[in-house]
């Protein structure tokens, strides 16, 4: 069964191309262009893995991550951001992000991280 992945990124052109590449590799992709929309979709149970940008208008990625940690601690969240400093990475990992990739990321690194997310989900469930 295809892994359901939620991509949270306000850069629509990035989200379009990136999500299509993952669909071509057999993943089921859902896209949210804001943190608020992402939390609504998570509440609806659309995905078990979240790929999250950090800097977005409105609610930023760190706040989304903090809220996911409280409401859905079993979700596997990976950060994919062009904005991250080492401090951001430490905060994100401390809030439960299992991976932190910087844009532009190599697709193989993303696939590797998704495989690990799948393994972690297998252990959690």
């Amino acid at each position: 069964m295809a892994l359901n992945v939620l991509l949270v990124d306000d850069e629509e052109e990035f989200a379009d191309a990136f999500s299509e590449r993952l669909r071509l590799r057999g993943f089921t992709l859902h896209v949210a262009n804001s943190g608020e929309k992402a939390l609504r979709m998570i509440a609806d149970g659309v995905a078990k893995v979240v790929i999250l940008d950090l800097k977005m208008p409105g609610m930023d990625g760190i706040e989304v991550l903090r809220r996911i940690g409280k409401s859905h601690p079993g979700l596997q969240v990976m950060i994919l951001s062009g904005h991250g400093s080492e401090k951001d990475e430490a905060i994100a990992r401390n809030l439960g992000a299992f991976e932190y990739l910087r844009k532009p990321a190599d697709i193989e690194a993303v696939l590797e991280a998704l495989k690990r997310a799948e393994n972690r989900l297998g252990r959690v469930e």
Partner: protein, 236 residues
């Protein structure tokens, strides 16, 4: 510093002037860091778009496409330039963030590596190869990162001025004997530069370098004999 401020109106004025400059630098750094972040987003979109083209080409590899090789080569060039762009923007982003705080704990290895990466282009234009050599272990300094990068750049530029042709300059971090230092060495096509000590003092960057090092609590040592072709910046 406080004692000096207490007794000299001129120094108080200069201190205030320096504080404004630090604020202005931090502002410049913030804007520059923001721009590099946006450039990374642009590079990410180009990267994913060219990646998608590669994926689609791979999926239709059995279909007839007379321009396939040229198309594939062009995508390869885009990917190569994206990697180059990421390296440049990442270095510039780190440089911009060096203006965030006047004084930080920094690894001298990382500062030298970044300085060399940012200055390589200036050296290349003069047919000079610039390189950084790190200590195996981190060399942590409490320093002014922006000013330190400026001093290291000036130190390399002072040597560049002494070379009248192709050559190589290395900045080597050392911690032998306790005090951290950076050994700046140069080689020309005909070997080392035996009259470097006198040439380097005549460089137009020399006075500024000494002034910057003074502000960093560092000093410069030029060996008059036995150390031809190199000189050393020593941190207190």
């Amino acid at each position: 510093m406080r004692r000096a401020l207490g007794c000299s109106p001129l120094l108080i004025f200069r201190w205030k002037e320096t504080s404004v400059a630090a604020d202005e630098l931090a502002f410049f750094g913030k804007i520059a860091a923001g721009v590099t972040h946006e450039l990374k987003n642009v590079l990410a979109i180009i990267n994913e778009s060219s990646g998608l083209m590669t994926d689609l080409m791979a999926m239709s590899k059995d279909a007839s496409f007379p321009m396939r090789d040229r198309f594939t080569r062009s995508i390869g060039k885009i990917e190569q330039q994206v990697r180059r762009g990421v390296e440049i923007t990442s270095n510039f982003n780190r440089f911009a963030h060096s203006m965030d705080h006047p004084v930080v704990e920094a690894d001298l290895n990382a500062v030298v590596a970044l300085t060399v990466a940012l200055s390589e282009r200036f050296a290349r234009l003069k047919n000079i190869r610039l390189s950084a050599i790190a200590e195996p272990e981190p060399v942590i300094l409490s320093t002014q990162p922006f000013r330190l990068q400026m001093a290291l750049t000036r130190a390399a530029e002072a040597v560049m001025q002494c070379l009248d042709g192709p050559g190589a300059i290395s900045l080597q971090v050392q911690k032998g004997g306790g005090k951290p230092s950076v050994l700046i060495s140069c080689e020309t096509e005909s070997g080392t530069l035996p009259d470097l000590p006198s040439l380097i003092r005549a460089s137009s960057h020399w006075a500024e370098l000494e002034s910057l090092l003074d502000m960093l609590g560092a000093s410069v040592e030029v060996a008059e004999s036995g150390g031809a072709g190199s000189y050393r910046i020593v941190f207190a």
